[in-house]
Amino acid sequence: MAKRMADNHKGDELNPDLAEPLHFEKANCLVLACGNTLRSDDGIGPRLAEWAAERFRGDGHVRVVARQQWTPDLATDVAAADSVLFVDSSVDSVPGRVSLVAVPSNRGNSDARSHHLEAHELLGLTRSLYGSMSAHALLLTVGAGSTELGETFSDQVEAALPRARGVLEKTVLRFLAN
């Protein structure tokens, strides 16, 4: 779950870079989701990943991976992708707010542990290990209203689902556009 996002806006936050077409030689997009489907809104990442897997089924250029946590071994998946869309919930955000921001590649020191990395840490690890960085890395989050035990979303997150799917779809299509 993302905890440190810059989150100063009342409404949805979209990265202005997306207004420009992206250019890279190989369209290879990784959708990397994180969350626990047993903790209410924390399950938004896996739910969106499930939707993305269905939406892009048969498209060999899109790979969708959902995990409870982002772990160091995912660095090989990130290294193999030209673009990465991280998908997570955010407890620091307004419930239901959909945000899309660039992932900073380096934040200096980290308190990284063995089982859980944040998106920027996973990118940093990928660069250290493989000397490569995905050309584009964005973080899509949905503000969490509740992370209590439960398999349903709060009203705010339920209402945000169509918007989040739309942002996810548009982002992946832009990644693929060449």
Binding site: P72, D73, S110, D111, R113, S114, L125, L129, G131
Partner: protein, 474 residues
């Protein structure tokens, strides 16, 4: 005035625990304890469930070593069913258990221990983690990531899931191995060998720089217990248990799962939710013993695979007699990973490995059953009782971490006494005390059958309970 130093929670472990170190009025260490602070519950809520659900239920105890729980649980169920599983199913289970051992050892060595080993016990705690290792030694970082994926990929290929696969069931496994999957696993093996060779080479180069730690990291005589084959080679899935004493003499051999509870008892200490296993004839605490990689390599006479055989011979030269320092758990893990890859390659060459008959079926034929297997951290024992309809009426699990509990506590005390003088300590010193526990790679989630996380706080408390100092990490 006496004082207590508290390390809570201990970092880079699987689960949640804390360490307290009690100082006397002169600032010398009087006692130390490793506390496991989680609460257990799996044994109770399994009551009333159909016994055949037990493997998948019990696997949820742990996300790191669920395969060992699956296997020990399935074996307990098979004792209730009174069935012998097909040869191919036994081989496939063995392969999955070895794959789990490789990925778990890779996690322990590369992710949890290597920050201390490669960056130094006194290095900046802000970079003393996997990211710091990746930046300083990227080739080793890549090796660690690749070995963890090697094990996880095999588990996923066999069981469709990397964590908590439902493929191991009472009676065998649900699906046979396909030619395509076999070939995929075979294709991964050369890289795994290369990465283990890299890690072994790097470890042997730096091991000598840790002589001081080797001397005081749970370096004392103890009993040891592990599974072993009849030909005295290492075994993770079948075989029977052997207990040896501090001189290497066999105390008891051929301890089957059925006999386990006759000879192994569990003591309770007021400071920990994890029990303390001991060998009943010797009583507690004299009958305490160590399990896991160090125990296994001390007990076996051979590995049974050529590359690991050479490494075992070298390992046994680390000390005259038994290798006693728990620091050498790290080295033992690397030897076992090499064995695991070799053995997986051998299993895949078994002429019957693609057989389709991989499951035996039966109902309730006994009202009690027990099963055991080696988890990466040591012996795991499941013991169940059912009613005539197959509903669970009772369960008891003895976990590797509980069996290492006494040694971990004594190890913490030994290191604390050595490093802490006049009540003074640094972050590096406390990191060494934590590192003693890390050598055992305890799985506290397993030992208490609950989940946990690992930030760190160190508190210095006076005898009157006044908090004198506190350092918080993470």
């Amino acid at each position: 005035m006496s004082q207590t130093i508290t390390i809570d929670p201990v970092t880079r472990l699987e689960g949640h625990g804390k360490i307290t170190i009690q100082l006397n009025g002169q600032g010398e260490v009087e006692d130390a304890h490793f506390h496991v602070t989680q609460v257990r519950g799996f044994e109770r809520f399994s009551e009333g469930r159909p016994f055949y659900e037990m493997p998948s239920l019990m696997a949820r105890i742990c996300g790191i070593c669920p395969v060992s729980h699956l296997i020990a649980s399935a074996k307990a169920c098979e004792a209730i069913m009174s069935v012998r599983i097909p040869h191919t199913a036994a081989q496939l289970r063995r392969m999955m258990n070895l794959a789990q051992m490789v990925q778990s050892h890779a996690l322990s060595f590369f992710y949890l221990a290597s920050p201390d080993l490669l960056l130094g016990m006194e290095s900046d705690p802000k970079v003393r983690n996997i990211l710091g290792v990746a930046a300083a030694k990227p080739e080793l970082g890549r090796g660690g990531v690749a070995l963890r994926r090697f094990g996880q990929s095999i588990i996923e290929l066999l069981g469709e899931k990397r964590v908590h696969p439902g493929w191991v069931v009472p009676g065998g496994v649900t699906e046979p191995l396909s030619t395509e999957k076999r070939d995929k696993i075979l294709a991964m093996i050369p890289e795994a060998y290369a990465n283990i060779a890299l890690a072994l080479g790097a470890y042997k180069k730096i091991a000598d720089t840790f002589k001081a730690e080797i001397a005081v990291f749970a370096n004392f005589p103890s009993n040891y217990m592990s599974l072993i084959n009849e030909d005295e080679s290492i075994e993770f899935t079948d075989g029977a248990l052997r207990l040896i004493d501090a001189k290497g003499s066999t105390v008891e051999d051929g301890i089957t799962a059925t006999r386990y509870t006759e000879v192994i008892g569990e003591a309770v200490e007021p400071y920990s939710y994890t029990k303390f296993a001991y060998y009943k004839p010797l009583g507690y605490p004299e009958g305490s013993y160590r399990v896991g990689p160090l125990a296994r390599l001390n007990i076996v006479k051979k590995m049974g695979t050529p590359k690991a055989e050479k490494e075992l011979a070298e390992f046994k030269q680390l000390a005259p007699g038994l290798v006693e320092s728990s620091f050498h758990y790290h080295h033992a893990r690397l030897v076992e990973m090499l064995y695991g890859v070799e053995r997986i390659e051998e299993i895949l060459a078994d002429s019957r490995i693609l057989d389709k008959h991989v499951r035996a079926t039966a109902g309730v034929n006994r009202l009690e059953g027990a099963g055991q297997a080696e988890a990466p951290r040591g012996v795991l024992h499941h013991h169940y009782k059912v009613d005539e309809n197959g509903k669970m009426t009772w369960a008891n699990l003895v976990i590797a971490t509980g069996q290492n509990n006494k040694a971990m506590n004594l190890g913490v005390l030994q290191a604390a006494k050595h490093y802490i003088k006049n009540g003074k300590f640094t972050e590096g010193i406390l990191n060494r005390v934590e590192a003693v526990v890390r050598t055992f790679d305890p799985c506290l989630s397993c030992s208490t059958h609950a989940f946990g996380q690992m930030p760190l706080a160190i508190t210095l408390v006076s005898a009157e309970g006044e908090e004198l100092d506190k350092v918080v990490r993470g």
